[in-house]
């Protein structure tokens, strides 16, 4: 509520009544739901690419030391070529670890009766639950049927089905009861206040199926809390960043995330986020061209990681002076052109009626521009001083 008030104060004159209403509803209501099936939009190839790129691939974070029973490492001698090959394999592995939990609609529980036999009424004093344990079936394909005391044979409700699956084919980490962290609201709130977002979401993915009501409620709660505390960096380069960005884009509250991205100088991601929200809400703005231009300028995560590896292996004397300048400033010429392009796109978004926190965003963009200008001047100066040809 406080944020909404703050927001209203910030852009009182230019706000659009419709959008503010939607955001107010979005932020005050903890149980945000997807009002229609988000699946086609989420599984769309372009959306997936945008979300994956936004997630970023920080290898230290993906392969951080985990406290698991076996975290042994292997040490090997390799040639540089072997090492690079192995490194590319590692990146593939990292991508697998960043697999996003699917975003699907809540599945309603339908009763499906197979047969009714009134002659079987009272055949026993408790019902029978039959589970098919045939080898090689997936959990969703596994048939669970219930014979009720009154003789009806029907497919089991989802809750029973999940329980039986867990009983006969346990999923590692899932509890057969609801963990107190999820059943007790205060404990969940405490976890969120301590910023254990990744832990809560990890546990949520293990404990619940993506189509369950609890999954939607709790993840919505986590994302709204995250939007208020603005600790987006905690989820960056984890598997939950994609669904989070999708959630914000869907519920028209991307501005805080956008601000965070601009502040951290992830302009490409900011452009992608805006493009995603345009795509979801079918806003008639041409974003494809900017995106493809930017994509051409950006190295893929694999290339970037490989580059880093190579620079680690090289001796400092072997590096060219140009690379050293890049390393000192942190940006290349390509980056500067990309920044210019994306800043233009972002400013266009801020100017449009879709942005809600205009003042804040404008300020961030302004600061970044000044910083970039300084860097550019330094870059040019250094180049000139070292006598590197301007290409």
């Amino acid at each position: 509520m406080l944020i909404v008030r703050h927001l209203r104060k910030l852009n009182a004159p230019q706000r659009l009544q419709l959008n503010v209403d939607q955001t107010r509803r979005a932020l005050s209501d903890a149980n945000l739901q997807y009002d229609k099936d988000p699946q086609p939009l989420f599984t769309d190839a372009e959306t997936q690419r945008l979300l994956q790129s936004m997630t970023q691939l920080q290898l230290e974070k993906v392969f951080r030391k985990r406290t698991v029973a076996d975290n042994s490492t292997e040490t090997k001698f390799m040639t540089t070529a072997q090492l690079e090959k192995e490194f590319l394999l590692t990146i593939e592995k990292a991508k697998k670890l960043l697999q996003m939990p699917p975003v699907v609609q809540i599945k309603p529980d339908t009763e499906r009766v197979i047969s009714k036999d009134p002659a079987l009424k009272d055949f026993d004093d408790s019902k029978y639950v039959f589970t098919d344990i045939s080898f090689g079936l997936r959990p969703s394909e596994r048939k669970v049927v219930v014979r009720d005391v009154d003789g009806t044979l029907s497919y089991a409700p989802l809750e029973t089905q999940k329980r039986m699956n867990q009983l006969y084919f346990p999923l590692d980490g899932r509890k057969s009861y609801t963990p107190r962290m999820f059943s007790d609201k205060e404990l969940l709130q405490r976890c969120l206040d301590e910023h254990k977002y990744e832990f809560v979401l990890d546990r949520l993915t293990v404990q619940y199926e993506p189509y369950e009501t609890e999954f939607h409620n709790i993840s919505a709660k986590v994302f709204t809390h995250l939007n208020e505390s603005k600790q987006f960096d905690l989820l960056r380069s984890t598997r939950h960043f994609g669904p989070m960005a999708f959630f914000y884009a869907w519920h028209r509250c991307i501005d805080d995330l956008l601000y965070d991205m601009i502040r951290r100088d992830y302009l490409y991601n900011a452009v992608q986020l805006i493009a995603l929200s345009y795509k979801i809400h079918k806003v008639p703005v041409e974003y494809g061209q900017t995106l493809s231009q930017l994509e051409a300028l950006q190295p893929t995560p694999a290339e970037r990681a490989l580059e880093e590896l190579r620079s680690c292996l090289q001796k400092p004397s072997e590096k060219g002076i140009e690379k050293e300048i890049h390393a000192a400033i942190g940006k290349t010429e390509q980056d500067f052109t990309a920044d210019e392009l994306s800043l233009k796109f972002i400013e266009q978004y801020i100017g449009s009626e879709h942005a809600l926190k205009k003042v804040q965003l404008e300020l961030a963009v302004q600061t970044l521009k000044e910083l970039n200008l300084e860097k550019l001047q330094l870059f040019k100066g250094l180049k000139k001083a070292h006598g590197v040809q301007a290409s």
């Binding site: 009424k121 055949f123 026993d124 019902k127």
Partner: protein, 130 residues
């Protein structure tokens, strides 16, 4: 005694009579059954050819009796001409895999009758006290 694996260790002749039956595990006052395929002539605690399911006859906290059936293998063995023991046939009938066993209908009828009689005597008693 450790349990034999589900893809049993029991030895059998090719043309001997096989049967799908219960084997009682669990302990005193706590029955638990494995549904297994074994040679008909053998004692229930001999090694089995294959385990095809389990049956817990004691209702759990939500008042359900849990049965697990490897339907694929059951159908295979039935197709091979395996026999069925009566309790196993009853259970598969309740599961809807086979036609409902006549004994299940008999039990249901008896239970209904007993319940109706109990209700009648209860009604008479309450009428007397009133």
């Amino acid at each position: 005694m450790s349990l034999s694996p589900a893809s049993g260790i029991g030895r059998f002749y090719k043309h001997s009579a096989k049967i799908i039956r219960f084997v009682r595990h669990g302990c005193a006052n706590r029955p638990f059954y494995h549904i297994v395929v074994m040679e008909r002539r053998k004692n229930q605690h001999q090694p089995v050819i294959e385990q095809v399911g389990s049956y817990d006859p004691m209702p759990n906290a939500t008042n359900e009796r849990l049965v697990a059936l490897n339907t694929e293998r059951i159908r295979y063995w039935l197709g091979k001409g395996a026999h069925m023991s009566d309790p196993a046939a009853e259970l598969l009938g309740i599961a809807g895999l086979l036609p409902v066993h006549p004994r299940t209908y008999m039990n249901a009828w008896r239970n209904r009758k007993a319940a109706a009689e109990a209700a009648a005597t209860e009604a008479v008693k309450s009428a007397e006290t009133a």
